[in-house]
């Protein structure tokens, strides 16, 4: 692939949307599109009545005509050519044919699709009488063709497109009945009573236990592998090595297709690229037999020099990690594996050098955010079996069931239709389960042995061979004027993706796109390079690059403020983005292609700052704690944050709602609740729209056979994106309910109101329960299923905003840092469920505090992780909990469902910069190498000559 383009913006640009979707069936450019030549229709007899629809095969003719001749049909025109067909919307509610509840005529009338034909009799323009007969025939044919064409155009104009148009904004109700209330979590009682709802909670007769032999070397060729001793172990059923499985390059990253991550990973390979990389797969009757078999597999490795330092990965002569010829990027994006250079992105706004010249003060510093693991309490687990129809079922702890189905089919080279993926309750994900790590292996074992199989990672495997946060080297240079104007900022990042390029490009892109728009900066330069190393594989992790970049930027902002003698809060208040403003970064940086420009329509950051300052006691504490006598100093620090809400114009979510006789609704969600409570939140959104309670919604989510598509739980998308799909479906269902009620009551729909599962007529004289309405629709007359499918794609990714404040105590004798109090205010638009939104904030920020202070990967000089357990990789427990105060700042985001934006990711980004800034306030030392453990802080204090005695 080509070297990175040095010009502006998009070396990473995805192909135009149409071609990406059409996959080779690229439509002709609009300019060259011609009206269909007069072929078939010309031969046919007189034009038919419109009601008799033209055969589907001829539709492109009409579309192309629509595109060229009838601009009025513009929404249909382009998209219908480029996009694959989608199922038509369910029929609109039957119109009350007669005013009586039970219409007199039982004959079902088929409503004509288009009103009376108005195809103009294409007036033959003053044909001279003396025309040759042959010419007349031609003229007649032309006339008929024109007539038919016009007719079709008219038809296209009238017929609603089968392709739904997604709303750009949602109306705001006068008051909320269900939304914005802290309703109990629908699955709460089942979870706290220990109901068997998780992946591994099923018993399958004849279950095989899978164990995968991991590589002891960071970088090696497998010269020879001999499983003959392993297979002899009693109870061992199968052993597979790279020789036994298909070799198909793909990515494990569960992203939209084609993925912006390189295809550099194989089911099994003859080369291993990190300690813990897959070497062989064993399936046995017991876990013990499987473990023993792994020990008996004889492998002859040719150990290669490993790449362990990301800063050295691209140096000339470095060992090449991906030297296999078949690795590739599925999109036309930068990919240079021969130099261990996995991804590149850059963008420029203005001229940073000019900006630095304009500045009164320029500062530069490099930050080193480190490796971390998600630590879901439930490790990755997958159970596979063949169902009674001989289809493969994968019951798996995943955030991306639909991507898991697609990638498993791809990896094994089997038809997608053979696979059903079920996501039961899952025990946390935080991004690590946005990867397809187990499903391919389980599928292989079950398809080969025809027996159910289970693979469950141990905690050590979770640390070593699941996914991690990309460690980065972030160099920031920024300029500021004395009045606080930010003139220029340059951010250059080397991101370490480990042995495989999962999320390699998009995480580093997010470092820019989810951080840089926060401040108004005259000139910006952003360069991101992701490199391969022979270290654990990075992937998606809550925050997704914004965590790493916000740390660097927010520390730099503090440094700039100090340099000009301004309070860091005043400095941020002066510079942060506000409602009605935009940033060129939105357009410049997308996910593997250009982004989507947008204007901020809701921003509660000012209130987050204001209230948070009061809560932490900023005015009284800032700059005072360091003056205290004795070795223990105190300090306060803060930071501001933004994130996004879904990936605009890429991600899609959908939902199906149908009504039951008792007035309940089945809601089949593609969206994936990974413990966040999204099933509950989406039920609240549906209930608000339908006029019922959230527990009237029977939610079933994430089953590729039974629920419609959704990209899954990532990119802060579920509430904002899938919530939009829920409204789009529920609105149709509501319209159907009202239409049926109107016919039953003999009242016009406009008279009707819905209140808590009851439809009232004018003046409340008539009333019908949801149950009565559904029974009528199902059993009485004009029978049909009240129900609808809704999809949603967003055209913006409105940022939630947040301000975080930390008060810390630093013992200058020991280096020990203690967080005394932590305050976080967040603007997530309307909190659909305030208690759950608050829970997201608290959970994310405690994970962030733990990441900043204690969580750390230790490696030996061979690239082996030394502490893959909770004893030596310290995540916070209750005893470590500081005083935490969180609050929500309500705003209303017009593009979100009931005003909602995202909430789940933003909160994890704050603690590292807020604590680092607080430590600086306490002891005057800037820490650039987290985590801020006692030994590191003590070393920094010593270096600065500030160690206490």
């Amino acid at each position: 692939m080509a070297k990175p383009e040095k010009s502006r913006t998009k070396p990473t640009a995805r192909p135009a949307r149409t071609s990406a979707l059409a996959k080779g069936k690229k439509p002709a450019p609009a300019a060259s599109r011609k009206p269909a030549p007069a072929k078939a229709p010309a031969k046919k007899a007189a034009p038919r009545p419109v009601a008799a629809k033209p055969a589907a095969a001829k539709r492109p003719v009409a579309k192309n005509l629509a595109a060229t001749k009838a601009p009025a049909t513009k929404p249909l025109a382009k998209k219908s050519v480029a996009r694959p067909a989608v199922p038509a919307r369910p029929a609109p509610a039957p119109k009350p044919a007669t005013p009586t509840a039970r219409p007199a005529s039982p004959v079902k009338k088929v409503a004509p699709k288009a009103a009376p034909k108005v195809a103009p009799k294409a007036a033959p323009k003053a044909a001279p009488a003396a025309k040759a007969p042959a010419l007349k025939v031609v003229e007649k044919v032309v006339e008929k063709v024109v007539e038919r064409v016009v007719e079709k155009v008219v038809e296209r104009v009238r017929e609603p497109s089968p392709i739904p148009q997604h709303p750009l904004t949602y109306e705001r109700p006068a008051k909320f009945e269900v939304v914005n209330h802290s309703r109990h979590k629908l699955d709460g009682l089942a979870l706290v009573t220990g109901a068997p709802k998780f992946t591994a909670d099923v018993d399958l007769p004849g279950l095989l236990h899978i164990k995968v032999l991991g590589s002891p070397h960071a970088h090696a060729k497998i010269l020879d592998i001999d499983p003959s001793e392993a297979i002899k172990i009693p109870g061992v059923v199968a052993v597979y090595t790279w020789k036994d499985v298909p070799r198909i390059a793909r990515t494990t990253a569960g992203q939209g297709y084609p993925e912006p991550s390189p295809y550099d990973t194989f089911l099994l390979d003859s080369k291993v690229r990190f300690v813990g990389d897959r070497v062989a797969i064993v399936a046995a009757e017991t876990p013990e037999a499987a473990a023993e078999a792994c020990r008996r597999i004889r492998v002859n490795y040719h150990v290669l020099e490993p790449v362990l330092d990301p800063a050295q990965a691209r140096r000339p002569g470095a060992p090449i990690i991906h030297d296999e010829p078949d690795c590739r990027a599925p999109l036309p994006i930068f990919f240079d594996p021969k130099h261990n250079h996995c991804a590149h992105v850059d963008t420029k706004v203005g001229d940073v050098e000019k900006g630095f010249r304009e500045a009164d003060v320029v500062r530069e510093r490099t930050y080193y955010p480190h490796y971390a693991q998600h630590c879901p309490i439930e490790p990755h687990v997958c159970v596979s079996y063949l169902d009674e129809n001989d289809r493969l079922v994968l019951r798996t702890s995943t955030q991306v069931p639909f991507h898991a189905r697609r990638i498993t089919a791809q990896t094994l080279g089997i038809p997608l239709r053979k696979i059903r993926v079920i996501k039961p309750r899952i025990g946390g994900g935080f991004g690590t389960k946005q990867e397809v790590l187990l499903e391919d292996v389980c599928a292989l074992v079950t398809l080969r042995t025809r027996r159910p199989a289970k693979w469950e990672l141990t905690r050590a495997e979770e640390f070593i061979s699941a996914r991690t946060r990309h460690p980065m080297i972030v160099t920031i240079k920024a300029g500021v004027k004395k009045d606080g104007t930010m003139t220029a900022l340059s951010m250059k990042i080397t991101s370490n993706t480990g042995a495989y390029g999962s999320h390699a490009l998009t995480v580093v892109s997010n470092c820019g796109s989810k951080v840089l728009p926060l401040y108004k900066i005259g000139h910006i330069e952003f360069v991101g390079d992701t490199v391969y190393t022979n270290l654990p594989v990075a992937g998606a992790y809550r925050g997704y690059g914004a965590t790493q970049a916000a740390y660097a930027v927010e520390c730099m902002v503090d440094e700039l403020a100090e340099a000009i003698g301004m309070d860091p809060i005043t400095f941020r208040q002066k510079n942060h983005i506000r409602e009605g403003e935009t940033s060129p970064i939105f357009k410049a940086l997308g996910e593997g292609r250009e982004g989507v420009s947008m204007v901020i329509k809701s921003c509660g950051l000012a209130q987050c700052i204001e209230k948070g300052m009061q809560e932490i006691g900023w005015a009284a504490k800032r700059g005072r704690g360091r003056l205290a006598a004795g070795p223990v100093k105190r300090g306060v620090g803060m930071c501001c944050l933004m994130q996004g809400s879904s990936i605009p114009e890429i991600d899609m979510g959908s939902v199906f709602i149908k009504m039951n006789e008792d007035g309940s609704f089945n809601m089949l969600l593609g969206a994936t609740d990974l413990g966040t409570g999204s099933d509950t939140i989406l039920a609240q959104i549906a209930a608000e729209t339908l006029g019922c309670q959230h527990d009237d919604m029977l939610v079933y989510s994430s089953d590729t056979d039974f629920t419609p598509f959704d990209v899954g739980a990532y990119a802060s998308s579920t509430t904002y994106l899938s919530g939009g799909a829920v409204i789009n479906a529920a609105k149709q269902v509501r319209a159907q309910i009202l239409a049926v009620a109107a016919s039953m009551m003999n009242e016009p729909v406009e008279n009707l109101v819905i209140e808590n599962r009851i439809v009232y007529g004018k003046g409340r004289k008539n009333k019908l329960t949801f149950s009565q309405i559904c029974n009528f629709a199902l059993y009485e007359f004009h029978q049909f299923q009240i129900g609808a499918i809704g999809s949603h794609v967003t055209h913006a990714s409105p940022p939630p905003f947040s301000a975080h404040f930390a008060e810390v105590e630093v013992d200058t004798e020991t280096g020990q840092v203690k967080v005394l109090k932590y305050v976080a205010g967040v603007d997530c638009g309307t909190a659909i469920n305030p208690q759950l939104a608050d829970g997201q904030t608290q959970g994310g920020l405690l994970n962030g505090i733990s990441f900043a202070l204690t969580e750390e990967y230790h490696f030996d000089d061979k690239g082996r992780m030394l502490n893959p357990n909770f004893k030596h990789y310290k995540i916070f427990g209750t005893a470590d909990l500081p005083e935490i105060k969180t609050f929500l700042v309500p705003t209303y985001e017009p593009t979100g469902p009931y005003g909602a934006k995202s909430v789940s990711e933003i909160c994890i980004n704050g603690p590292m910069p807020a604590i680092a800034n607080a430590i600086y306030d306490a002891v005057g030392v800037r820490l650039t190498k987290p985590p801020f453990t006692a030994e590191k802080v003590l070393a920094a204090l010593k270096e600065a000559g500030k160690r206490g005695r």
Binding site: T841, Q842, L846, T878
Partner: protein, 153 residues
Amino acid sequence: MKLTLTINGKLRSIEIAPNVMLLDVLRAAGYKGVKKGCGEGSCGACAVLIDGRPRNSCLTFAAQCEGSEVLTVEGLGTPENPHPLQDAFVRHGATQCGYCNPGSLIAAKSLLDHTPAPTWEDVKEALDGNLCRCTGYVKRIEAVLDAASLGKK
């Protein structure tokens, strides 16, 4: 070998291998509420009460439990009749993914059995062995304190 013990008030006799852990025996016997998070006694998801004391069942040999009384989360309450702690966990939003709840509820039950009116610090101390990555613990502690205060009334 045969293991006889009382699980959630029911006398059970189970055929086991001498080297198996209580966690695996309980799950195989149908008590799926007992969760495995680390298998090395660090996360507390597998906590059960053995003769009234909270124990990590992943580090307890089943054979050690001959004649013991074991309480799992299933024995604490049911969806129809939840224990006040379970009810409080739901009301306070102390359950997100819920994977750690069975263990933390057992630890909380043990705390309230011995300290009916705990302080915030007592709860922090008692539940420190039960890791949770979702909630940030605040709502969990509030739930335990709320359940305790309801118990007093």
